[in-house]
Structures are given as C-alpha cells and as structure tokens.
Homo-oligomer: 252 residues x 2
C-alpha cells in the first residue's frame, strides 16, 4: 500500500529539538509516510539525537531532505496544507485531518502531489508560512487543552491518512489458530444441545419452544464459534449430562 500511495510530504519548519524530529519519523513510519522535508533545523543536519529518537523508524529520517526556506521546500508540490490551530487570525480554508486525508487521497489518484507544513515547537507556523497553504488543517481537540506536541500532530494527521486507505473490517473475530465452524458443525452442536435440553425438561411450554430455541440459537450464532469451540461445547454438553441431576446435599 505504501508503494501505491505516495501519501504526503511532512515538512517540518525550523524544528528545534532533534528528539522531536526523531519522534516525527516514528509517527510517519507508523502511518506508512516516507517523505520528510526539514526547513532550516535549529541544530543542523545530520542530527544524532534525531536519529536516536527515530529508533527503528529509519525510512523517513534516512531520506530526509534539508531546505533553507519554506518556498524551496514546497516548490515541487502541487497542494500544500498547514497544520495549525490559528484559525482566527487568517481567513483561510480550514479542514479536519480526516477531510484533508480524503482530499489528499483523491488528489493522489489524479497524480497531484501534496505536503503538510508543521511549525516550530514553541510558536507553531508563522502567518507568512500559513499563507503559502491552500488550507489549514486544524486538529479538533478539547478546547480546554489543545496543546499537542509536534510528533502527536503528525501522528493524528498521518493516521487519518493511513486509516482512510484501509479496507479492513472494523469489527471481526480474530481466529487464533482455528477455523470458523461450518454450518454443519454448528447444527450438529445445536441439535445435540436441544436433544439434551429436551431430555432435561428444559422446554416446559410446547408453545414457547420455537421462540426459546430461536433465542438460544441467536445467542450461540452471535458468538461466531470456531470448530474448536464447537468441539469444546459438545464436550460441555456431554460433561453436564454425565454429571447427572444437581442434588442439594445441605452443604454450601
């Protein structure tokens, strides 16, 4: 997937701490983003603290390109966004990370390249840099506490992009080492269950029996049982039947 989707360039404008650059590399690689551009890093380049902090996430940081200013860093890009929450100061278009993510994917489908500017740790982007972007990306956090560090901002926007490209099921049962039961296995189990229940006088009212059976079936269907679990449950039925009727013997 990372090969088919170039994603977007992460452009760090005058980052201060090498450690933060490394953490950005980690956040990028978590989200399959490869292209890191750095404008005028305070502590120069290469930066050992950055490389150390990136531990393991080497692809973005090893390919990082350094630029003297924002204009040169975005020169070859076609659409530029700015990550900022200074939405009251500028009359910019403002989008959520999720909206930007879908837009970037749409643009990529048309062969259009995109990048996102992230400002220095202490100040964020200056208005002159924001003015180079066609839209602001504002991460909508708790108004009582909006402070996100650089890598967290990259992570949230990167994750929005990454997860927008996934076709994975949102809700499924992991199979472990087993197979989902076949319908035949399930029915075999269920028949054995009903047989046991009938012998145990479970169905007091013949009229209610169909309803009760449906409720029972629904309950077990919902669990999406594996073949192994079917065998286990059949063992449970057998064991319970072997155990014989419960008799209260006076002890607790």
């Amino acid at each position: 997937m990372t090969d088919h989707h170039p994603g977007f360039a992460v452009i760090l404008v005058e980052p201060q701490l090498g450690e933060n650059i490394g953490m950005v590399s980690r956040a990028m690689w978590n989200c399959g983003l490869r292209e890191l551009r750095i404008v005028n890093p305070r502590d120069g380049w290469p930066n050992q603290a950055a490389i150390d902090a990136a531990s393991g996430a080497t692809v973005p940081i090893n390919n990082a390109k350094i630029y003297p200013d924002v204009a040169s860093a975005v020169a070859d890009l076609q659409v530029v966004y700015a990550s900022s929450d200074r939405v009251r100061e500028m009359q910019s278009r403002v989008v959520t990370p999720e909206f930007a993510a879908r837009e970037i994917r749409g643009l990529a489908g048309e062969g259009v390249s995109a990048g996102i500017l992230f400002g220095p740790e202490r100040t964020g982007l200056f208005n002159d840099d924001i003015a180079r972007a066609s839209a602001l990306i504002r991460i909508p956090t708790n108004p009582e506490f909006t402070s996100l560090n650089l890598a967290q901002a990259v992570l949230l926007i990167g994750y929005a992009w990454w997860s927008a490209g996934l076709n994975e099921a949102e809700d499924y049962v992991a199979l472990g080492n087993t197979e989902p039961a076949t319908r035949e296995e399930f029915d075999g189990f269920f028949d054995r269950l009903i047989e046991g229940l009938e012998k145990g006088y479970f169905f007091r009212s013949p009229r209610l029996k169909p309803h009760t059976m449906r409720s029972l079936r629904t309950l077990f269907e919902r669990a999406r049982l594996s073949s192994q679990e079917i065998r286990t449950l059949q063992g449970v039925i057998n064991a319970l039947r072997r155990a014989g009727p419960y008799r209260f013997d006076g002890r607790i």
Copy 2:
C-alpha cells in the same frame, strides 16, 4: 461536551515510567477524557515525574485512582476493551479505534459505562488481562512499523472517541475578523468586473460570452469572498482600469 459524555475510563495496567503516565494524562485531556485508573504502578503513587510530565493536563492525573489488580480496576464497569495488537494469539473480537469509539458513544447513550485497558510499556497486556475484555482494539498502523508508545495509543483511541462526537464542519472558511459578503455585495462586484471586461473587449465572441461569464462567476463564488475581500477586489478593478492599457516598451 465533556460533561454530557463521560467517555471511557483509561486503565493503565502496571505502567513503568511516571513520564508516560503524565503523557497519557495529556493525551486524555486533549480528548476530553477525565477518568484515569492505574493498576499497580511500578514506581508507586503519587509520582512526581508523572505530575511533571502532565504539565497543564491536570484533570485526569489529579483524579487518578489506584488499584491492586485489573479485576478491581474494572469491577464497576460494564464493557471493557483491551488495546492490543496481539490479535493472532487470542480468539477475540477485534475492532478499530473508530468502531470502538462509536460503540462506546452508543453504549453511553444507554447509560452503559466503558473502560479500555492499556498494558505495560515493554510487554503490552498479558493474555489473562485481554481475556477480561469483550473486544480488542487494534490500531491499524503500518505493518512494517507498528510500535506505538503508551501515550500515542491513548491519543489515537481517545481522538477517535472525541472526534466521533464533534459536529463541526469538516471544511469551512475561517472568517478572521470579517463577514462573508452578502449576495448584493458580490453582485455589485461582479457587475463592475463585467463592465470593465466589456470595456476592455474581453468578450471577443458574443456567442461564448454567457459561458465565459459563468466560468468567471464560478471561480469567484468558489473563493467564498468576504465583504472586505469584495472591497479589495473592487479596488483591484479600479486600479487596473486606472493603469491603462499595457504597452510593451522594449524593456524587460
């Protein structure tokens, strides 16, 4: 919003570094989450490193409750999730952060309380703890680099919950200090523009004029102009007309 939606309890199981607990408090408060529970923190409690790292995000950490084991930490909750990517080891239900977020909001609407378990930094949750959860939450990151730290996992899941509750526009134009133009202002501007264009013989083909005008209008409508910008553009028209016809004088 935070008052109406209790969100979910963040349950840290045997966290090691105080700094990480503080960063979790920050990530929680970014997302409006208040309820922090800590099972058996390695370095005891209270923990000054945790309080320092939480700087500013005091609500979750000041209300943190300490428990001796997972069972007591989840005792009063009704639905428990486990954050883990060990989906192959267990035959659990697996959901994305976004799916869990919607489910937790749906449950909250029914008065059902929820919590999410997060494991120790180095090992993640043990299978015994995962088995207490009704579902695993798996954050779908780049398979080549899935490593997320504790606070990042809390942030991504917390943000999924927080942003699922927002009704904000995903794409809008921030107004700065100005007002969107009225239709009358826009039409006044556009009429002046067309008038100038006619005088400048812009519309060479009378047949194409309606189409050209529509294209021009669409272009300016798309920009969603403010009153201030309308005035600026009218000034642009005036200035261009004052400037008179361009004459090539031989200099570059």
